[in-house]
């Protein structure tokens, strides 16, 4: 049974069809890259997986471990182990990053019937994750994404992923806006996260992240559906020839 299985997904936004029969299956232990040109529906796909309001699912299903999650609330999907690293993380002044992270980790613990981690234990974990991502400890005290640089926001997403330990991480253009050093730090974070029990879906426009996080499968999304799938060499081919080549 696939960890993630998307069947014939159709999604409208403002009465315009964006996803038009998208199907994808990802097994535990795998990394899949979903690539596509601008406007192909990549971000819509990522957001629909996370249950963002404003997207109208008109057909098809999304399942995790065989259970249909198409209609679940965002927090319920999170409780089942789904995580979306946002393309544009939201700035929330007044709520410290630490407070936010603790609230999230506590919510997950409660759902699993585990004890919430103690404050010192949690702070230790958060500091450890921050240092792995080359983030200063003060970063945890600042407001959520408040005044963060583009690179800091992306690293903050990966930090959350490391702390929440999801089973399925969907990374929406996490590589965009990163300089090469930050890209390597983020890639190292993703590689550290990968294991046999979880899976990663990388949604990206460019293949450069794939130099550092090597995918098991590469899919090309155009016109709201997967038009081609292959191994890593497909990404390299796209880099060389562009997306136009697929229409030929």
């Amino acid at each position: 049974m696939s960890l993630l299985r998307v069947d014939e997904l159709r999604v409208d936004v403002d009465d315009k069809t964006i996803l038009n029969g998208l199907s994808l299956a990802v097994d535990a232990g795998e990394v899949h890259a979903v690539m596509g040109p601008n406007g192909s529906g990549k971000s819509t796909f990522a957001n629909v997986l996370a249950g963002r309001p404003g997207y109208d699912v008109t057909g098809g299903t999304i399942a995790m471990d065989g259970a249909d999650i198409t209609e679940l609330a965002p927090e319920e999907r999170s409780h089942r182990g789904l995580f979306l690293a946002f393309q544009y993380p939201v700035e929330i002044p007044g709520v410290s990053n630490m407070e936010f992270l603790k609230a999230a980790v506590d919510a997950q613990a409660r759902i699993r019937g585990e004890d919430e981690p103690s404050a010192p234990e949690f702070i230790g974990r958060a500091r450890d994750a921050a240092s792995r991502l080359d983030l200063d400890v003060d970063f945890l005290k600042r407001g959520v994404n408040d005044g963060f640089s583009g690179g800091e926001k992306k690293r903050n997403e990966i930090l959350q992923m490391l702390l929440l330990e999801p089973r399925l991480a969907v990374l929406d253009e996490t590589d965009s806006g990163l300089d090469i050093d930050a890209l390597q730090v983020v890639a190292a974070g993703i590689n550290a996260f990968r294991d046999e029990g979880n899976a990663v879906v990388l949604v990206t426009h460019y293949q450069r992240l794939l130099n550092y996080v090597v995918p098991d499968r590469v899919h090309v999304l155009t016109g709201g559906r997967i038009v081609r799938s292959g191994d890593r060499s497909l990404a390299l081919e796209l880099e060389e020839k562009g997306y136009g080549w697929l229409d030929a």
Partner: protein
Amino acid sequence: MAGSTPDEAAVARRLLQTGPNDYAPWFDRNACTAVIADQGLPAIRSEAWKYTNVGRWYETVLEATRPVHRETVVESPEEVDVRDFSDTRAADLFGPQATFDLTRYPLAAVNGLLLGAGLAIRVPAGCQASQTVRISHLPSAYQHCLVSVEAGAAVELVEEPSPYTHRIVEAVVHEGAVLRHRRRQAGASTRECSLVAVNVATGGRYELSQLSLGADLRRNDILVTLAGDGAETALQSAWRVDGRAHLDNQVAVEHTLPGGTSRQTYRGVAAGRARAVLNGRIHIAPGAQHSDATLSTKNLLADATAEVYAKPELTIFANDVKCSHGATVGAMDEDAVHYFRSRGIDEDRARGLFVRGFLREAIDDLAVAETLGVVV
């Protein structure tokens, strides 16, 4: 009494007929009687009462019984001299305070005639900012606290939630003194008006941190006069109103001498059918050069049925000053709520976190906030 309505006229008539009560006879009520006799009480829909139906408060004034605590509950450090107005020596602690003009705050005249609980609080030099005077309850619906923070002294004054019909807190912050004033106003079914009037002398500082939930009717008049060179004030107020609650904050900061600094920060959340008002005035008198004044008010409308009125008002009569203001009203950031939810935080908690973060920009006293139920 031009523009009288039966409500205000009825209250004025009743007060003038009855005259002042016999509590604390040393406390001069002649001015109160004169103001009510000469100018009457504010009419419903007068400019100062545009957003609050003062007639509903008059109803409370005319009621025979009101929710009142039976005893005085006040904690204070040893060095601080606290006396009830019934103690004639209370009069000795204070000269004339004149922190406000009764003709401008005529409800204070109503308070004066019906006064039933007064405290004179003198904070001597040597008192430290870490020391607290805590006013929990006073045994009358009409209350008056006089606070004098003497030169170089510092103190924290805390007003705990407690029902009243009208409360006055007057304070004089003498040279180089500091008064940290924390006001806590819980949600209530009462109709309450209050006046805070503070004079800050040279080098003195007055800080207000006010956290309010709505009441059936709640009106806070606040007047801070920077009456000395380099006097400072920082007013920080956060509120959350829901249901049919009503909260009207009328704040005036007056820079009367040069070099004063004022910072006003307001953050409010209105939900349900509640109404919240912030009228924030900065007045810079002629000659008050090098004044530095800012006012920021941000409001969150949690429901389309809630109402917010946010009005900064600047009157500047000096030409070398820094003065700025900003006012916003917006809805809850649904992207932020989704962001929280996507991390497994349920919707109610997500909204609560967002609101708390928003209010925290004005007031960072979350333990109290949670006690008052400000946080979901």
